[in-house]
Amino acid sequence: MRKTLIKAALAFSVAFPAAALADIKIGATISETGPASFLGDPEAKTLKMLVDQLNASGGIKGEKIKLFLYDDGGDPNKARTFATRLIEDDGVVAIIGGTTTGTSMSVIPVAEEAKVPFISLAGAIEIIDPVRPNTFKTPHTDKMACEKIFDDMKKRGFTKIAMISGTDGFGASMRTQCLAVAPTYGITVVAEETYGPRDADMTPQLTNIRGKSDVQALLNPGFGQGPAIVTRNYAQLGITLPFYQSHGVASNSFIELAGAKAAEGIRLPGTALLVGDLLPENDAQRPVVMAYKTAYEKAFNTPVSTFGGYAHDAFAILVDALKRAGSTKPAAIRDAIEKTSGLVGTTGTVTMSAKDHLGLDLGSFRMLEIRNGGWALVK
């Protein structure tokens, strides 16, 4: 009673509607606003939609899910505060989130100390390597994207490539990973350029690359507007090298920004979500992807994005684990998440183990090509 009174008295604490006792509380800290909002916004929408869907269909074994969702604005310091709030004040049994690598890395110590399972939605490999007992993630690592691209290059017989990378977190991290795995695919990076995330023209860097006669293909690790500008400059300069983009721009808005004509023929590794209706009828991911796509587009009237798909998979993994755990104790949920096996999500089929807290393999990436302003699957 005293606690409640004090809470009400402190004008700053937020009163939540009293939850029914049997609710399962799950938490999320997402960058809905701020520089990473194009990632965080679809993630937050997806989580809210899925929780409503699940509760409308009766919840998990009759228990409703209650979602505590906070917007950290992409600030790691705020993310840490919200993670503390979720665990200490809201009493959640698991946390989804950390839209960016920075926010995820700052949630990890809090979740690990409290032994609450945490499923990150960020790309970098540091999140799950080395494996921490309570930390999981759903997106492919940038290393896997590099491998998928190099695999395709190898098949087409390219061994000497040029790279032009963004210096933002995503671009910088993927650049490092690509340079590290290139030799294992027999690929040499013969020319390398970088650009700032807010640069408006990459013609000089591309001209340098064009000047090298032995380059056989071009790779652009980066996300946001940078790759779109690179693509436009690439077309303006009349460069004809086969062009690879990263999974960071696997969305329709990239084609719009770059222009369908300039983007024609670009290849990039993407998830099944982007090409749901192109998947063969017998593809295991097709029903999952189509169900999510239809529901999301109906609810929000905007196209689905890969990033919302990461949140979809995180929630699916958590719900699957809750069903199997037979308890709502964080430790039991953690164990159940680690035993996730053959779970079909939008990003791929997830099979985790004590050594692998991601559970995806290269097969879950699809090599896509932009044709006539749309996507096509590369066989």
Binding site: I6, E32, P76, T101, G102, P109, G169, S173
Partner: protein, 318 residues
């Protein structure tokens, strides 16, 4: 014996810090408290620069960045203890502030605002782009301060949140004590004199340029210590700490609470740290709310919240 204003301020602050935990419903409030204190340390520095000396800096987050990254890098590359790394960060920040401030503060007007703005942006760009050293935009890990383990060995086991609440609370008390001492010292009087009128201050023999540089250096050290505290507490740091918005936030906190008073600045830091937590329901509108609060304060309470409210209460009392 009647307590001086300085001592009663410190006593009040110490009481609030010590007694607030009684009312904390959960450990989360310790975390919030420690973030409030860390922000307050930086804002007390702004009070010295803006409130005492009347100078405006739009790049103080740059010094927080230096302080934070010193704690991340010095233990790895120089083998320093994290606590010494924080001291090193403060020294580097002070020297940088001197180098930036020395030529700029000879000029009158708002040159410092522009120069510090540029400085802050430069620091955050270096932190984000020198990936090989700083780990880039995804941030870098910070070593453990080790004090909590020492306390636990000495028979005082504290949770992480409790420890940082106490530690940053003590840092804030020390910072406030120093700032209040400065207020009534010859340097403090010189600063306030030049705030009133640079010409008048010069006429009575104040070395205006030197006094301004002193204020800038001191406030840079405060910002640096705040950066170190947040880095050590979070055990990781990203270039966001040096971001432009963070600089603006510090100035806003000081101006909201009352840039001229240490207690007011702490109040400003408290409100602007708690507000986003309280308004999570309106999270999309956070920026609008901040802008609105700021405008209202500027229009109706130009001195800032605390001085205006105190004046109001005193006015009624008399």
């Amino acid at each position: 014996m009647k307590l001086s204003a300085k001592h009663s301020t410190l006593l009040l602050l110490a009481l609030i810090i010590a007694l607030a935990p009684i009312f904390f419903p959960s450990a989360y409030y310790f975390r919030i408290g420690s973030v409030v204190f860390v922000n307050a340390v930086a804002v007390v520095g702004i009070v010295i620069l803006t409130g005492y000396a009347g100078q405006i800096s739009l790049g103080h987050a740059g010094f927080s960045g230096i302080g934070g990254y010193a704690c991340a890098l010095a233990p790895v590359h120089l083998g320093l203890h994290p606590a010494l790394a924080a001291v090193l960060g403060a020294v580097v920040s002070g020297v940088m502030a001197y180098l930036v401030g020395r030529p700029i503060l000879r000029l009158k007007g708002y040159y410092l605002a522009v120069a510090s703005l540029g400085f802050g942006i430069l620091v955050s760009m270096v932190l984000a782009n020198e990936t090989a050293i700083t780990g880039g935009p995804d941030g870098i890990k910070v070593a453990d301060l080790g004090l909590r383990t020492l306390l636990a060995d000495a028979g005082v086991p504290l949770t992480n949140a409790q420890f940082w609440y106490a530690f940053s609370g003590i840092c804030l008390l020390i910072g406030s004590w120093l700032a209040l001492n400065l207020h009534d010292s010859p340097t403090g009087r010189a600063l306030r004199a030049l705030h009133g009128s640079e010409i008048a201050a010069r006429t009575v023999g104040v070395d205006v340029a030197r006094a301004k540089v002193t204020a800038f250096v001191i406030s840079a050290v405060y910002a640096s210590v705040a950066g170190s505290l947040i880095a050590l507490q979070n055990r990781m740091i990203t270039p966001d700490v040096a971001g432009y918005m963070h600089s603006i936030e510090m100035v806003t906190m000081a101006v909201l609470g009352g840039a001229g008073s240490v207690l007011g600045a702490i109040l400003g830091a408290t409100i602007l740290t708690l507000l986003p937590q309280a308004l999570t329901v309106f999270q999309q509108y956070e920026q609008i709310m901040l802008g609105l609060v700021m405008m209202l304060v500027m229009i109706f309470m130009r001195e800032g919240l605390l001085p205006s409210l105190t004046a109001l209460v005193r006015g009624r009392g008399e």
